[in-house]
Symmetry: C2
Subunit: 289 residues, 2 copies
């Protein structure tokens, strides 16, 4: 076991083997620099714990920024549980050109999406990759996508402080972190680890977003604290990182993401969309002081 | 980057370096076999997606089994976000004997707990380990804990289909899987990957547990489908794995786990406890036909 770094069960048509990822390092480095130089801001959306709604928040940020007129790319580097293609409602496999460049799915003129999900022919297949192979795939993903000129690249990283966020951080050293949590202690404990991770590797933290906040009771409208309340802001204060805001819990968000129609949330007047607009205003303020 | 498999930022007092994990392989294999031979049933609690309440379910299963008179060990192998020590309310660092054996925390005569959390002096510290180092740590954890005789070892694995569940499966080939999901599609899509993972590596699946099911409205009592409903049972049917039951969503469970008092749930008459009792009955039935 100790000498074996990689084990895969197929990858359904992509060029993602370790041999590919490791070849021509200098050439690949050049491609990454060239590709990333056309992107103004790179945001890494992280969470210490899974299931805090990081992908919904990534999608919400991307939609809000695109609808404000920015050119936005949304990239999913979750190898084990990619979900952004489904959430954004993009269908079909990604196209790879003769020059081995990946063309993103275009949601509209302002919003492009690349999800690991769109490289897998069989969505139920498990990818049993070991860590270093994952870092190679992420590096390749960042170099080989033809994003064109973007104002924002939003990278939805898998949870934790392991190979994947480290792969992004090493490949895109200028990326800045947005950390997502829910209000309960067990999530906040992991958030402190994410903050410590960013500090160890020297990544700027733009701030903390608290997701799954109060849920208005359908009968009386009184806010129900499903996952407790207020923990995100308190933790941001203790750890001295900016607090960007709280997003309310809303079963409509669960449904909209399952149905691949997160854009419908704004039309339905969901409080989630208003709260997201406030968070984006704070983010924009911190990026251009 | 490619030649480097491991990167750590300290581990606060444990003997968990790669060198340690790799030394005396044969001796370690013997220790693992000897240690595991005293444990009747080994269950691996898995989820495709994080945040589905896998740790709460692991804790609930362990408590229910212990309270039914079985001798139970509960092990947390989540390196990036260990939470079982907090959930079970055990405090203090684990003790390591002169023979380098780890003594579990004893909750009572029937229930022992070992959490990665109890090896870290600084709980906010991020562990930035790459995959193969993680597999070594898990192997060491399984060999070096002095469980004694147990009826059940419940292993709470981190989400996904990567190094950690693979490490457990390779070290404990007779382990059987309990897969946890929530009802929404984005979780179920990842559950199908977990099922496919188990089938690829030849691990028996005992069944699927649906967590975060209906939440009774505090005003009218009508069940609210916060994360949709029915998806767990439908997916179990499609994928031909046993369905073990649905656990209702209950903010009391969130609080009890945050407070380290999950045992209090039964006294408070929480529907979660009754549902868990039903799930354990089904599990016991499938283990001794």
């Amino acid at each position: 076991m100790s000498g074996e770094n990689q084990e895969t069960t197929g990858c359904g048509g992509s060029d993602c083997g370790k041999g590919q990822a490791m070849d021509a390092k200098t050439d690949k480095d050049g491609q990454i620099v060239a590709s990333l130089s056309r992107i103004k801001h790179k945001l890494l959306v992280m969470s210490g714990k899974g299931g805090v709604g990081k992908s919904s928040v990534s999608a919400g940020l991307a939609i809000q920024l695109a609808d404000s007129g920015y050119r936005v790319g949304l990239l999913d580097v979750d190898i084990h549980g990619p979900s952004l293609a489904g959430i954004m409602g993009v269908k079909g496999l990604l196209q790879v050109s003769a020059e081995r460049k990946v063309t993103p799915h275009e949601v509209d003129a302002h919003l492009k999406v690349v999800s690991m999900q769109s490289l897998m022919k069989d969505h139920d297949q498990a990818i049993i990759w070991r860590g270093p192979a994952k870092a190679g795939v992420i590096r390749q993903f960042l170099s080989d996508v033809d994003w064109g000129d973007l104002d924002f690249l939003i990278v939805d990283a898998p949870p934790g402080t392991g190979d994947e966020p480290l792969g992004v951080a090493q490949t895109v050293p200028e990326a800045k972190a947005v950390i997502v949590t829910t209000p309960q202690d067990v999530a906040l404990s992991d958030v402190r680890k994410s903050i410590s991770f960013c500090r160890v590797i020297g990544m700027t933290i733009l701030g903390l977003v608290e997701n799954m906040g109060p849920f208005p009771c359908p009968c009386c409208g009184k806010p129900l604290a499903l996952f407790k309340s207020g923990g995100g802001e308190a933790t941001a204060g203790q750890m001295e990182v900016p607090f960007l805001g709280t997003l309310p819990f809303d079963p409509l968000v669960v449904k909209a993401c399952d149905n691949g129609q997160p854009r419908g949330l704004r039309e339905s007047g969901a409080a989630f969309s208003d709260a997201m607009a406030g968070i984006v205003q704070k983010l924009l303020g911190s990026l251009s002081p």
